[in-house]
């Protein structure tokens, strides 16, 4: 069964450093997303991406965040200068229509 894959599964970084989280969406999907989940809290929408541009973004997705689809298979989330409060589980998702499928997540720890 096709699935969304994310790498790395865990990322530890120092505050102020840049991180790139990587995702390979399901191959025939056209819509891509990043969500995050701070420990013990709800899953929160960050950004959606379609046709090589951002469709919608939340208030969380400020200038420190960016997304890119560098080739036909990868979808990345970059955080330019990480803050302590960026520590969370980051989930990539993709869809062909409304049905959203998630990857297993990258646990980001900012020290």
């Amino acid at each position: 069964e096709p699935e969304v894959t994310q790498t790395p599964s865990h990322q530890v970084t120092q505050m102020g450093q840049e991180v790139i989280l990587r995702c390979v969406p399901i191959s025939n999907h056209l819509y891509f997303y990043w969500y995050r989940q701070i420990l013990g809290q709800k899953v929160e929408f960050l950004v959606s991406f379609y046709n090589n541009e951002i469709s919608e973004k939340s208030e969380i997705f400020d200038d420190q965040f960016s997304v890119e689809r560098p080739d036909g298979s990868n979808f990345t989330l970059k955080i330019r200068s990480t803050k302590l409060e960026d520590s969370a589980m980051y989930f990539c998702a993709s869809s062909a229509d409304e049905k959203l499928f998630f990857g297993s997540g990258t646990q980001l720890s900012v020290l």
Binding site: V4, Q41, F45, L100, F102
Partner: protein
């Protein structure tokens, strides 16, 4: 320091019993709903979906009921198994904006053998 986070409601059931997990939503524009299962350290796993023009949908061992009048959604799991133990979330999106899902806070299902 102070711990901040959600205190998840927990539903404990005996193996073999049926489980009912509930979710309330507030926006009348909510148009499409998904139930997700999340096991510890993993991503949300799609279980079943329902559109607002339906009030019931069945899958394998699962049924979703939608009551638009009271803005309530439920997930019924038949013959609950230990492997069903997880946190269950409902997620909704709104008419004209299927890019963005809003997640509920979740219910922890604990299946006792």
């Amino acid at each position: 320091g102070e711990s901040v986070g959600l205190h998840l409601p927990t539903l404990s059931v005996q193996e073999g019993d049926n489980s009912i997990i509930n979710c309330a939503y507030s926006n009348s524009a909510s148009d499409y709903f998904i139930w997700y299962k999340q096991e510890s350290g993993k991503g949300p796993q799609f279980i079943i979906d329902i559109r607002s023009n339906m009030d019931k949908r069945q899958g394998q061992r699962v049924t979703v009921l939608l009551n638009k009048t009271v803005k309530h959604l439920s997930l019924q799991i038949a013959a609950t198994q230990p492997g069903d133990s997880a946190v269950y979330f409902c997620a909704e999106n709104r008419k004209g904006n299927f890019n963005k899902f809003y997640f509920g806070s979740g219910t922890k299902l604990n299946v006792k053998p």
